[in-house]
Amino acid sequence: MELLIFYPLAGFCVVLALGVVFNNSPVGSALALIGMMLGLAGIFILQQAHFIAILQIIIYAGAIMVLFMFVIMLLNLKKGDDAGWIARERNLLLSVLTGLLAVGILYKISDVLFTAKMDTPATLPDTFGTVAVIGETLFTDFVLPFEVASILLLAAMVGAVVLAKTKLD
């Protein structure tokens, strides 16, 4: 059952991620990204991480993507505003080298993954990934990071207001 859900969902996510990168219109990219994030929420549910899956839908597919759509509409972007995915000539060598690096990293990761011994998963309790368990961990072991995150979000809020308000000079 898990197999039957995982592979189509993973393929869906990969196709939509490619759609984000290779789409000419920014609105299309944003829609593909929303679909990818919903697919990832499904994968998180498959991993029993229900709380994170809900957060993924609310924060990523909801809040962050609405912000993206808002900015795309605000800037009034049209199709083909950039030169597509053509490498700039003076950076051609660097582009090729970086592409090789990325492919090499992917190859090495898959090499390590398929030879490593990772076939004895722990048995999960029924409460794994529920709001109660995550909340308990968050407010006992991780109180300080939680508070720091709240300060970070406050700073980001103030920073966004200040940056969007004043003229850059």
Binding site: L3, V20, I64, L113
Partner: protein
């Protein structure tokens, strides 16, 4: 019941991460580059949660929660910067933002 091995989740994560890197490197549109960064953050979340599930922990889920917090902060500030840049120079092409180059 047959379950998906951990390595397949990690492969998905690595694939999405590489797609994100490719997006950052080959696209010139600021917004699309930003979205590719979001893909990379999501890819990392997959492996955090996969390891969490594999080892029966909760800390990985807390960590991906923190990643989401940082992503929200990053997006709000980053989009504000894009709007400020756009007001200064009406384009979204990254190659034209060369004011800081010497």
């Amino acid at each position: 019941m047959e379950t998906v091995p951990l390595s397949h989740y990690l492969m998905l994560s690595a694939t999405l991460f590489v797609i994100g890197i490719v997006g950052v490197l080959i696209r010139r549109n600021v917004i699309v580059v930003f979205m590719s960064i979001e893909i990379m953050l999501n890819a990392v979340n997959i492996s955090l949660i996969a390891f969490d599930n594999y080892m029966n922990l909760s800390s990985g889920q807390i960590f991906s929660f923190m990643v989401m917090c940082v992503a929200a902060a990053e997006v709000s500030v980053g989009l504000a910067i894009i709007i400020a840049l756009h007001r200064n120079k009406p384009t979204v092409n990254l190659d034209e933002f060369n004011l800081l180059k010497w």
